[in-house]
Symmetry: C2
Subunit: 442 residues, 2 copies
């Protein structure tokens, strides 16, 4: 869903009109994010809602728990009846019956009576507290016992209470977790296992969530071949489409693979047709300064361009605009540029489509294990391994940082952000690191 | 896959044999984890391998990149030919032709010649470096241009070079990312988008991963009803099965729902039959001290019991053993005890089945926003909200910590661990917090 207001140039603007327009990363990301709005809602079974964003307010239809119930195995009493109970002067109560979980009674607890009660069972009328069986001479619950013990328990008609309790002791009150008619989960909440549990406790079998973003992915370049084709001289495999599809899936979207377009306007146009049913089109390659970089050209001629260059490394040449009404992000063809560009620029947009409100990954402050220099003059996102060292985080570069070094992403669990005008982070200096995942995930 | 050695009591051991056996959390977790081994391997398409664990060493079948190639648009030269080039005394080279990406030539660069070359194109024979076009008087690449510019570029037969380059300048070398015959990804690696990209770059369309653990889930209790059934007095909805199924899925397993068993040995036995094809059976309820807690009884009589009590809160009554050769974990029936028990005791076992080597979630040191008291005398896992405050993490309790308060899990993103013998964490004291997710995911 692309907004029609905003920063895009008119469709016919020639591509070269703003050659000096080089946005900061924050400006570019902000411009991309502003273009998108959350997708419509769909109903899904609650287990399929995991990882999705709630699209409705969930109001409790009943109290949870639905009734006052016992938090212990013991005896349901009126606290006033056992107020004087002590080890050396117990109070004797008559047992009116037994209440396992799931069993209710309408016969109230009268003065000097009680019910034997099990965890989770509803409190009988007029009982206000539970005396755990350990504080009584009642037959011990639990353990493995045969029919003879059951018979003994059933035959017990009275119990001695050795300690006083206060009203409400060991009672779980109706609604203490969730109260009828209250909003328990608000729209916009991320659905994790805990939220599924809340939904189930309210009797919801399905729930409204924001649709998954559909992201169309196209690789470009005459030199690019499908990954299962034999390598020939000068050709490279299309790892970029898989990088992007994996990232789209990893962050909860649905990838639509459009294949590989040759470096001609015709091939590009044909392949892009499949992107019309997507919420976003991402291409790789064809956006830098080469003669054969037709992606930027088709965008400038047939779509609209918002920007095509970011003061960022890796990933300076990034084209953003719309084509036939679909948002279009053209990432550079180097694999690391593609992946980092996705993390920094595409992921937040995709999350916004999916209804998330917090679009950034968690960033931490980590101590540099060694000097990290930035000769790029741009905001530099370098691949690091972060580990825990006592109460601190320590970051190490993964080695060679060239934008073709795919393994630098494999080795990394974070991206250290080196500001544009900072030529280095000194050893032991604290730096911002965007966490891709966490040490425990290694 | 349950090991036959280890800590389990003989199948016939009566349940009450070790009434004083109360393991620490670490002992119980260790005993559970030791029982499991990684599952067998299966081949899956690389995109479906996301989140799974690699079950084979991945050896590079070719160098990546497969050939020396240009990192820039410019001219492929012999550095020696342009060693004297300066702004005021350029070197003139003859242009032998043009090399877009994907095009190779066998005609070498002879002295005082060059090729026009584009990013990603293979270096022609004998060229050792690239001069970016900005350091030449070559027609500028890039931007949108029509056929007349293309014609001008094609007509250019020589180029002036204004600056010297060193050998290897702006060259990406074959194998600088991945070298033929080297192990690029080792077995045991978690497959994230970066690893999918590496696999694609090596031409792998499918890959061997450890199978997903199948976890059977059974809820027990006469008072428990399916979530879509009408609530009646004394009954509660089966949110536990959904809690567990959601957790199993969240952490990469496959949940097998066995429904709800009544508190009879017959019902339990019937429902447990479906668990025979699982790698692990989890039940909720039926493991505490109540007379109707038949789960522990069936385990003691018909299976083997390793332990049935942990010095932990919430979740003290946890039964662990085997039943018909399948590992069996009986969690308590309170929803929070079930969820926390899963996170602390079941998740690491499931991850080990799935082939992971690091089984713990990341724990951080967070400052307590207020006093957190632990009157339980047990290792207490309390629900907290962790937020970032400058370089620090700060933890706040989510409110009521009763084991029936499902919403305490909804509000939490971490579990603060209060040691057994520590009666409180003071305000501003640092405490260990196991992160369930991260602030950015709120």
């Amino acid at each position: 869903m692309v907004s029609t207001t905003g920063d895009a140039l008119p469709p016919s603007a020639p591509f070269g009109l703003k050659p000096d327009l080089m946005l900061t990363v924050a400006e570019a990301r902000g411009r991309i994010i502003r273009t998108f709005s959350p997708l419509p809602t769909e109903q899904v079974p609650i287990l399929d809602a995991l990882g999705r964003v709630l699209a409705e307010d969930i109001v409790a239809g009943n109290d949870v728990p639905p009734f006052d119930n016992s938090a212990m195995d013991g005896y349901a009493v009126r606290a006033i009846d056992v107020a004087t109970a002590r080890e050396d002067s117990p109070v004797m109560l008559a047992i009116l019956g037994e209440l396992p979980a799931g069993v209710t009674t309408e016969q109230p607890v009268e003065p000097n009576t009680c019910y034997r009660i099990l965890t989770g069972a509803p409190l009988p009328p007029r009982a206000d507290s539970i005396v755990p069986y350990e504080l009584t001479d009642g037959v011990a619950f639990g353990g493995w016992h045969g029919p003879e013990v059951a018979a003994e328990i059933a035959s017990q008609r009275a119990v001695r209470i050795f300690r006083a309790v206060e009203p409400d002791d060991n009672v779980r009150h109706a609604g203490e977790d969730q109260r009828k008619d209250e909003v328990v989960l608000g729209r916009g909440v991320l659905i994790r296992p805990a939220e599924v549990t809340v939904l189930a406790s309210l009797g919801r079998t399905s729930v409204g969530v924001v649709q998954r973003p559909k992201v169309a992915i196209l690789s470009t370049g005459d030199e690019v071949i499908e990954i299962d084709q034999p390598l020939k001289a000068g050709l490279i495999r299309n790892s970029n489409s898989y990088a992007l599809a994996a990232l789209v899936r990893w962050y909860g979207g649905e990838a639509i693979m459009l294949g590989i377009a040759a470096d001609t306007v015709e091939s590009l146009r044909t392949h892009l047709l499949g992107g019309q049913r997507a919420d976003m089109i991402i291409t790789t390659g064809g956006v830098s300064m080469g003669d054969y970089d037709v992606v930027k050209n088709i965008l400038a001629q047939e779509g609209s361009v918002s920007f095509w260059s970011i003061d960022m490394r890796p990933g300076k040449p990034v084209a953003f605009g719309t084509l036939d009404g679909v948002a279009f992000i053209g990432l550079p063809g180097n694999p690391v540029s593609t992946m980092v560009g996705f993390e920094i620029l595409v992921r937040p947009a995709m999350l916004k489509l999916a209804g998330h409100s917090r679009l950034e990954k968690t960033a931490i402050r980590a101590r540099a294990a060694h000097r990290i220099s930035n000769r790029s003059g741009r905001e530099n996102y370098m691949r690091v391994v972060v580990r825990q060292d006592g109460d601190e985080w320590v970051a190490c570069l993964t080695g060679e940082q060239g934008s073709g070094i795919i393994t630098s992403m494999h080795l990394a669990n974070g991206l250290v952000v080196v500001p544009k005008n900072k030529t280095c982070i000194e050893k032991n200096e604290l730096a911002d690191v965007i966490m891709l995942d966490w040490p425990s995930m290694q």
